[in-house]
Amino acid sequence: MSVLTDHGDPAAGAALHAALPHFTWEPVIDRGDVTVPVDPRHEVEVATIARDRLGYTLFIDRFGADRGEDAEPRFDVYTILYNLDTGKRLHLCASLPGLDPVMPTLIPVFRGANWFEREIWDMYGIRFEGHPDLRRILMPDSFPDFPLRREYPMEGQGAWAAPSRAIGGGVDGQHGEVAVNYVPSRPPPAAGGPSGPGGAP
């Protein structure tokens, strides 16, 4: 299995400590992947250091994950960077609370984060402060929910079940009456500005 499990650099924590000594680093090593938990507020700073000082120049991926309604912190936002010189990958993981998850955007460091953050917003409702264009990207603009949240059901609700609310729901964030067997435990953030569930038109 060695060829599959030597992709992370176990020394990444020490290297980050040398560059940013005022934070604590406790990398998690799982199946050879090195994941560094970072505070969402400091993620931009860490990513900048990783890019400029540690050589992780290639932006590979940024995605969200949900631990479930009862978990706290509930959401994780992973950022995967790659070092072309050493051939090592670095996973950054920022954890966010379930209620109104928000964190700064990574666009100033990697411009390509733009669409990836739009997708995280689309799927999980995690807002990125400073994002210039935080709209839905894969789901229709009028879609009222965040479908990759764990409590969102596979069946029983969807755009086809509720054409009438799809029109109204996206604009004012109200959940219509056509929905089948599903009441979101936490309504999405109230309408107004970029936090409305449908986003800008």
Binding site: M1, V3, R31, T35, I60, I80, H91, F110, G112
Partner: protein
């Protein structure tokens, strides 16, 4: 010169202010699927390009959280539907990394055959469609001639031509048929000559060169920041290929070169793909010569048995085997809690899977990192400044597929 206003013709006096918005797609032929581009034009020059995606979104990541690991495999066929075998391999290796199983040497070599056949097939379609969009009809027909041969080979491997679902955790679904290697050998012997034919039509063709050279230049800096991978990244002069950087399925045993461009324009991306097809044929030749014997699926250890499907023929006569197969496919795949990320070098770039397990029957997160998603975002940066007709060249050279982009 007479003042045009006296001639009773309308003159655009606010020439600087009038921009035209046009929608290219979602049904435009050069968008190969359902991509929509909103172009803002000043005359014929594009000043803003906004790709709109999501028309082919099927919620695969959500589906991946509800199905068992084996059940999700057919969905990976429909990611990059031009290279389903390569998707199967990438997903299965990710599962194997999560479970801690390793495929047998023979299975790994078979997977290399799968990946390289898929790469040739996908590059052929990309090249044919790219050339046809720029007016070179012949190439399209010629590449489909070779694709037909590849589909026949794939049919020999797994019985299906398009939606293969061929790999299994620990190996592959069935062994190669006896007459397969001679057929593959004949194809590999023929193929480099075919690539020469394509090159004879295009590489020094004046029209082709003028439509692609210097068009759609992607700088190294942009390529890195936008997360381009695969031929698009290498066309910009960055030498990164997962098969070399972190080999899987025994790619380290085979000798091949990674072509790298320099200018980052459409022409370089074309050259990179052409050379990759030759290298793939070179790899296939080596696999034919060194294909190890032995089992095609790993049924060695007790732990493995909980995640590996039993022999299909046994399930038809043996009750225990049938129950075992049912349990493995629907309920459990002894995946210990934790996370695994694996990315493979697919024809379009780096296809990554992130699987998170809490020990249950299905993943609690099934992230699919699609190379086309990153590549399409890059259009925002590279399309402005070009003419409308150049968009076809750029789209063709990016070689995306919407099934993977929208997931």
């Amino acid at each position: 010169m007479t003042d045009p206003r006296l001639l009773d013709v309308e003159v655009a006096e606010d020439r600087d202010a009038e921009h035209m918005l046009i929608n290219m797609g979602p049904q435009h032929p050069s968008t190969h699927g359902v991509l929509r581009l909103i172009l803002e034009l000043d005359g014929e020059e594009i000043i803003r390009c906004e790709p709109v995606i999501g028309y082919l979104h099927r919620g695969k990541e959500k589906i991946g959280e509800t199905l068992s690991f084996h059940q999700f495999l057919p969905y990976t066929d429909r990611l990059d539907y031009l290279a389903p075998l390569a998707n199967n391999v990438a997903y299965t290796v990710a599962c194997e990394k999560l479970v801690g199983v390793e495929a047998t040497p023979r299975a790994q070599a078979i997977r290399v055959i799968c990946c390289e056949l898929a790469r040739i097939s996908a590059h052929l379609l990309g090249l044919g469609a790219y050339a046809m969009d720029l007016g070179a009809m012949t190439i399209f027909l010629w590449t489909f001639r070779e694709r037909e041969a590849i589909y026949s080979l794939i049919e020999r491997i797994c019985g299906a031509r398009f939606t293969t679902s061929y790999t299994r955790v620990g190996g592959v679904e069935r062994d190669l048929p006896e007459d397969f290697l001679p057929k593959l050998e004949a194809f590999v012997r023929e193929f480099p000559g075919r690539v020469d034919e394509y090159e004879a039509l295009l590489t020094r063709n004046k029209i082709w060169v003028r439509r692609t050279q210097g068009v759609g230049v992607i700088s190294k800096e942009v390529a890195l920041a936008y997360g381009l991978t695969g031929p698009n990244l290498r066309g910009s002069g960055i030498d990164y290929d997962c098969r070399k950087a972190h080999p899987y399925c025994g790619y380290e045993q085979y000798e091949f070169e990674v072509p790298v461009g320099s200018a980052g324009d459409c022409y370089d991306r074309y050259l990179v793909r052409i050379e990759e097809m030759r290298q793939s044929a070179h790899i296939l030749r080596q696999v034919i010569d060194t294909l190890p014997s032995g089992p095609y699926i790993n049924r060695d250890q007790e732990r493995v048995l909980k995640s590996v499907l039993p022999d299909k023929t046994k399930t038809l006569t043996n009750m225990e085997a049938l129950i075992h197969q049912f349990m493995v496919a629907t309920e459990s795949i002894a995946a210990p809690p934790g996370e695994a990320w694996f990315s493979a070098e697919n024809p379009k770039g780096e296809l990554g899977f992130f699987l998170r397990s809490n020990g249950g029957a299905s993943a609690t997160r099934c992230r699919i990192r699609a190379p086309s998603f990153a590549a399409l975002q890059c259009l925002v940066e590279i399309v402005p400044g070009h003419m409308v007709a150049d968009v076809m060249a750029i789209l063709g050279s990016i070689d995306f597929v919407m099934g993977e982009c929208d997931r």
